[in-house]
Symmetry: C2
């Protein structure tokens, strides 16, 4: 009775459905990956991400010069080091995992050890000797909020940010767009194959081992539906897969956002779709902006977007969702002659 | 900052090296997989495993007829159902995960619900109303003891087995053999590629982002050495890869084994190797036997072996280890003429 590691077939993905995941377990699972240099490197190699944060800091150096900075979840320490290089007087770089030790080594090797103080712990628990002018953090998860660190950033802000302080990034948006994609069909195919395979298994187990497994078919189907069909799929989309107008479904001001605001995302959207295209899924992504605050604006606004990009995008990709939920369609047919048909409203539940 | 899920490149494998894994986390990680029907099915589709246990039970029916059985870690409940079908009076099927509910459904659907009582919990914690005649369990992990359940089986035995009771399986052995394999070279190649890639990354990060990452090279190398070179590799070997005589390095009597005995495996082995072959690694596997006890023997001895097999073997595969540790070689050259050279002893530390 052994679970299949490297090389031995596909393992069921993601989270454990068997027991409620408690805080300790969740911590281990979440932080576990970030303790690996391999993973830090993956993020450091994301040029779009790196360029955006680098520009955000150095093109807005006045926000940093002679100031006190807090880097939430410093990881390798890169943002803290840049903050110091941009002229910060002091940088508190907080990191929960043992990656903190590496951040210290890097600060030392890059000659900013007198400015950058790495503190191992969570921002919820650590104590800083002073309030800060800037909170910088790379906290965004898939589709912005999935497995994100934003609630920790909010906590840090409420604890440590001076009244005229600024957030880096200052704003974030979630986007939704209709897309065409082959992935949904592929997943449906994989699901059908898995269920055919199950049927053969049920037959064989009865034939060779005298045990009827059919009582488990319903649960097996549900498990695989969830895995294949009801989970968002990570993908790197090409812009030409977007078949209509993206819509912003959430806008966040990082200076004022509350934990309640980000707990749930509900939106009513209008997504004009080109009629010759076949709607197969919705895709989600996000962007963030570095603007400073209304009270304390930056010199130059910088954008980091994870929208579909012909050059390959970022490590965040986009999220495809083939379970389109309750959708109400209102469509108008426009003929080439210019004649418009009356608007038609229809409700669909797409799986 | 997001970890890569399905489809997004390779993730660092296995256990979290960053913090000591405590019991709760370990429980979650371990049992998590076994709560999935997908995983249960994988094991139920292992014909070698299924055939062995099926034969072990039905060819030794006298051990089960009218008797009380405990199935440790029942999973889907297959062993419990077979025990009932072989004539058991009562079967306690203990399962820690929510898989227990499925085991109950299966017992019901196969008409043995009056005999098989599924109890959700761990054998360390549950209470049974009586002692048992047979403890049956499929507890073996990779190379027998890796991620195995055997300490739970020992606990169950010490708590519940009658003095003349029997263990199914009754005996277990761990084997080591010299093998030839291309996998080690492949892993070495992958490692070299990863380090080349790292060098480029260090250059680029200095060039484009003004930060020197070289302070992390040593730690990055160590992390990847561990991942590529110092971990056992799961593989399904062909018998012709075995280039010498396998040796049993551990023999366990399941009736008397203690937790201390299985905590560590130390062995001094003699592995005759065919001189024309190139020793590239050692491979480990195990077998178990169903013999009953000396006091209470079975009718027919059954073997379940995970040795390299030309028909594909089991889901356990074998474990290749390329870090051959301290090895002392004594070799004798035998010429075709019959002349033997004096024995030569040499010490090697193979990486």
């Amino acid at each position: 009775m052994a679970s299949l590691p490297n090389g031995g077939g596909a393992a069921a993905s993601g989270s454990c459905g068997a027991r409620p995941v408690d805080k300790e377990v969740d911590f281990a699972n979440y932080f576990c990956t970030y303790a690996y240099l391999y993973h830090q490197k993956e993020m450091l190699c994301d040029r779009v991400r790196m360029d955006a944060y680098h520009s955000a800091v150095f093109r807005n150096a006045p926000h940093f010069q002679g100031k006190v900075v807090l880097d939430v979840g410093t990881g390798s320490g890169i943002l803290a080091i840049w903050s110091a290089q941009a002229g910060a007087r002091k940088v508190y770089a907080v990191e929960a995992t043992n990656m903190a030790e590496h951040a210290r080594e890097l600060a030392r090797a890059n000659g900013v050890t007198d400015i950058v103080e790495v503190i191992q712990g969570t921002v919820e628990d650590v104590d800083l000797p002073e309030k800060v002018d800037v909170i910088i953090s790379e906290w965004m998860g898939y589709f912005l909020l999935r497995e994100s660190m934003f609630d920790s950033v909010i906590c840090a802000r409420d604890r440590w940010l001076k009244p005229d302080g600024v957030m880096y990034p200052s704003h974030a948006r979630m986007w939704l767009a209709p897309i065409r994609t082959g992935l949904g069909d592929k997943k449906r195919e994989d699901f059908d194959i898995a269920m055919d395979d199950w049927s053969l298994f049920v037959q064989d187990t009865q034939t060779y081992y005298g045990v009827n497994m059919n009582a488990l078919t319903k649960a097996y189907r549900a498990e695989h539906e969830k895995y294949y069909l009801k989970s968002s799929i990570w993908n790197n989309l090409h812009p030409n897969q977007v078949i209509g107008q993206p819509a912003a479904i959430k806008e966040i001001d990082c200076l004022t956002a509350t934990v309640d605001e980000i707990r749930e995302v509900r939106a009513q959207v209008t997504l004009p779709i080109r009629m010759e295209a076949r709607l197969s899924a919705l895709a989600g992504w996000f962007d963030v902006h570095f603007r400073g605050s209304a009270q304390n604006p930056g010199v130059e606004e910088v954008e980091l977007t994870t929208a579909p990009d012909e050059h390959g995008g970022t490590h965040w990709g986009q999220q495809e969702n083939h379970r389109l939920m309750d959708m109400e369609f209102t469509y108008e047919l426009h003929e080439l002659s210019g004649r418009k048909h009356p608007a038609v409203k229809t409700k669909m539940y797409l799986e």
